[in-house]
Symmetry: D2
Subunit: 94 residues, 4 copies
């Protein structure tokens, strides 16, 4: 038995996070509009980046558990290489 949340639950969780991030970006836009102090805008922006990092890590985890581990043979090799390429982009911010 697997006690990880079902895909429907994970999807809902991801969408809630992304919806909050969308609100954060809108908030930053409003702060720029109101000519708020740069440092306060930057603090909000750092928080948004951390939130995006968490979504990225969640997606890497989903992909590894579902698409890499579950696959077999050549398909597994291909998906592993895709995963490593994606991780490389996240780490090196390319």
């Amino acid at each position: 038995m697997d006690d990880r949340p079902s895909y429907a639950e994970e999807k809902k969780k991801l969408r809630n996070r992304l919806s909050r991030i969308e609100g954060q970006v809108r908030g930053i836009s409003k702060m720029v509009d109101e000519e708020r102090y740069c440092i306060d805008v930057l603090t909000q922006l750092s928080a948004t980046q951390r939130a995006l990092d968490k979504v990225a890590i969640e997606l890497v985890a989903d992909h590894t558990r579902k698409c890499v581990i579950g696959a077999d043979g050549p398909e597994q090799s291909e998906r592993t290489e895709e995963l490593l390429e994606a991780v490389s982009r996240l780490v090196a911010r390319r």
Copy 2:
């Protein structure tokens, strides 16, 4: 004579960028909704992070040019320390 864009122009540029980023985040949400392939979602997410990095760097530049360089004495010291704290958060992703 200063040939840098006026603050009104810079503000408009920043808001355009943020508006595009908001659209990118909404697009990622839609991709999750449509159960698109994780790796494609991650590629879009990396692009969004790079776009946010650019806004952050633009804000650091604005703050340095306007609030640090222009200030004097104790105010300048205080604003420099605030700037360095913000840069530290960006670099170390805290």
Copy 3:
């Protein structure tokens, strides 16, 4: 048939990279010693960080290919979670 380099070759490649990084760090120390211009030191430091990022990505790839893909059942689950934790540390710089 697997056309990836053998472990001995990969190990040699990793050690060469790390040896170059060690030299880069020693070079930075020397630059500080000689009171070289901060910006030049920072340029060298950014190059060193990129080199370390590459080693990290290489280690993630090795672990995924050898310890995750090759394992089975509970061991595979455990190693996947360890991998995801390590990737999370790299992305979020914790």
Copy 4:
């Protein structure tokens, strides 16, 4: 009166940090040599990256306080742009 450490003290502190980082990189090389578990090597590598991040932030702070704030006119503009370019490289890991 300025209560920040003198340059000699800061230089000594930087060199001590860099010397520790050099030791950390040598330790990672040894771990690879002994075929230690990838995840343990990655943990050590993440710690090394955080240590380098701290040195980078310290150098940005030094440059800002000494070379940007102290300069005047065109020299100050030039040094500010150099600083912003260096920060940009650190944030975007270019």
